[in-house]
Amino acid sequence: MDFSFSDEQTLLSDSVEKFIQNDYPFEARQKLTQTEQGFSADNWRVFAELGWLGIPFSEEDGGFGGSAVDTMILMEQFGRGLIVEPFLASLVLAGGALKIAGSKAQKETLLAGLIDGSKQAALAFAEPQGRFNLADLTTSAREEGGGYRLSGYKCVVLNGPSADFFVVSARTRGEQRDEDGVSLFIVPADSPGLSRRDYPTVDAFRASEVTFEDVALGADALLGSLHEGYPVMEQVIDEGILAVGSEAVGCMEVLYKDTVEYCKTREQFGQPIGKFQVLQHRMVDMFMEHEQAKSLMYMAAMRLDEGYDDEAKKAVSAFKVQVGKSGRFVGQGAVQLHGGMGMTDELNVGHYFKRLTMIDTLFGNVDFHLKRFGAL
């Protein structure tokens, strides 16, 4: 098992790290989160110019990477910087669905726009009743006049406010929870009958509740094969888990390192609190949790690069379980060791913790993925 990165991958990691150090300080990030858009269009252009938006895609699809390990490296660094630009939602999720199931024409018109930064997208897959079941859909599409009519409701659509188009999962046949009969559609954001309610999430990202009222779609709106969208969704979400989990690993690293640094200076009883054995052990446990999560991150990335099969699914679920547990432990440890300061808005600790807590719930929590891991 080779854990070393190629020269290109090391360069990528270094360049993202430098960008965060020089151009993405915590204070700047906080200002961005207060804007209506929630992120910087200038940063997005920089990402495009540096080629980062093409990382999840192969050269054949117009990208610059295409491997899960490449995305992992990028997202781990994004986690360190607590980046709020919608890379996950636009590129990994919506772009991922296009990458897996898109026709040549769809890739040429839509994927190219995502990669050059001129367009943004969102994956509308979650419904209130479905919890983490991707097949539990009340949103439906019916064939009509050579096209489709889409009706339904999607919740917490990440990057919904900035999306130029949505990739939407809908039932085209079968019962509400059947895996068969799920289809994917590309829906322009300005389609008649589509309405949004936008809001910020706890971790300062942006999301929407999206309603589709008899939205008319052409035949070319279908993404992939009719009724066979579930495996695509499952793969997209698993690739999303790797991406967002890698981000969590980056968050954890910052939290435990900042906590160690803080404990060197904060004094109680005439000495730095880091001199106390019980706190040292707590920091060791935070360090170990981070390393364990990082190990499973490598495992999941390598499995996904070897091919999307049950082994890859198991590795992804194992990684998500570990990220949920480790993220909670590291986040709580950081807040507690920082004391009251850990809960304030001006300190970064609480913001990393919020992101880690969101990531735990995103795409299935610990219990959900433990069950999935055990069943596979």
Partner: protein, 389 residues
């Protein structure tokens, strides 16, 4: 498929329904040289484990291992070892662990043997080490060598004057020799302590974990090490490279699969608890590979801590799975083989669990990891007050 051994031969939990491992494992992309070595180990296991099971003789397996120097793989050849590199020793240990093969006590291999090599002369080593390598000689060790217990006694001339009537020891059951630390000279002065290997007299009482100190004879190891130097030596012997030369996960994987096989189709163990343990072990297996590739001592320390904790969780699940049979206590009125197998497993598991809980290993290991180069140590940096942000 290689045969799985029974409870008699290892510390795992045997049940006849045990099946082959089916769980996801880290598939290591080994170099051709490493793969060739692993293949030779697999061939050896295929032959020797069959014979061991058929002959009902775990000692035979250890002797076969020792003929290749594999019972103490990193020891020099002249003392019965094979002179393997840490990586080869790890590959060997992992293969043995995954098949649940009998092995010598790691304390004998990694601690006592190397300690003697550091402190004893060739004559004594020639007498002691080959017998240890063949599994014919077992030693106990006083915990003061690794923990903070008081030095158990003093040397006055040729006499050992114990500080109490009995010594609490590790691995005393079945041991025929004892290694302990004694003050030299003034009882109050422990600055220049000496290491003493004590020959137990034939017939000396060896209660489990306790030994009478009356009537011991000694082979004294001349050394001028201070207590601090000795502690550092012991720390080096049990961590770093030595940690990386062991597989911490192979035997855990074997035991987990045994438990999974036992629990399959029953409600003996919560499937969620099993899945949780599987995830933790999977992560540890990747970490073990990372420690090998990066030759990282800090990752190896994580392995030693987490594997101990996973081992403890495994024991807890084992006891949970046994149900009522976990309650059975040893009965002098019953012959050993009259007890149902699960009851025997329950006794072993609970005894082992107590040792896990009571052992200072993970506490001390956390201290060492905190201070290690790659760990989250205090260091000499000025630190950073995040409030300044």
């Amino acid at each position: 498929m290689l045969p799985r051994l029974t409870e008699q031969y290892h510390n795992g939990w045997y049940h006849p329904k045990r099946q082959a491992a089916a769980e996801t494992q880290v598939q290591s992309d080994l170099s051709a040289k490493d793969q060739s070595f692993v293949n030779s180990v697999e061939e050896f296991l295929a032959d020797q484990l069959q014979l061991t099971v058929a002959g009902n003789d775990p000692g035979q397996f250890i002797r076969s291992l020792s003929e290749r120097g594999w019972s103490v793989p990193r020891w020099p050849r002249r003392w019965g070892g094979a002179g393997l590199s840490p990586r080869e020793a790890w590959l060997l240990d992992r293969a043995l662990g995954l098949h649940g093969a009998p092995q010598l006590d790691p304390g004998m291999v990694d601690l006592i043997g190397p300690l003697l090599m550091r402190l004893a002369d060739d004559e004594l080593l020639g007498r002691w080490l080959p017998a240890i390598a063949r599994g014919e000689s077992r030693w106990a060790i006083h915990p003061s060598l690794q923990g903070s217990d008081p030095v158990p006694g003093a040397l006055v001339g040729d006499r050992f004057v114990p500080s109490s009537g009995r010594l609490n020891l590790r691995n005393a059951a079945g041991a025929e020799r004892l290694i302990l630390l004694a003050r030299d000279g003034s009882v109050a002065d422990i600055v220049s302590a000496e290491l003493t290997a004590a020959d137990l007299l034939p017939g000396a009482l060896l209660d489990p974990d306790q030994v009478d100190t009356e009537g011991l004879t000694f082979a004294r190891l001349e050394t001028n090490l201070t207590v601090a130097q000795l502690a550092e030596l012991l720390d080096n012997l049990t961590s770093g490279q030595a940690s990386r030369a062991r597989s911490w996960t192979g035997r855990l994987r074997f035991r987990l699969e045994a438990l999974r096989a036992e629990a399959r189709g029953t409600e003996a163990v919560s499937p969620m608890a099993l899945a949780e343990l599987s995830v933790a072990l999977l992560g540890l297996e990747v970490l073990e590979h990372r420690a090998q590739e990066a030759e990282s001592d800090s990752l190896a320390r994580i392995l030693s801590i987490r594997s101990t904790e996973i081992g403890r969780q495994l024991l807890e699940l084992t006891i949970e799975a046994l149900g009522y049979y976990a309650l059975a206590a040893p009965d002098p009125g019953l012959q050993h083989n009259e007890l149902p197998a699960p009851a025997m497993a329950g006794q072993d598991a609970i005894g082992e669990l107590i040792r896990y809980v009571g052992g200072p290993e993970t506490m001390a290991a956390r201290d060492r990891l905190y201070s290690s180069a790659a760990g989250p140590r205090m260091g000499k940096g000025k630190g950073k007050d995040n409030r300044a942000r």
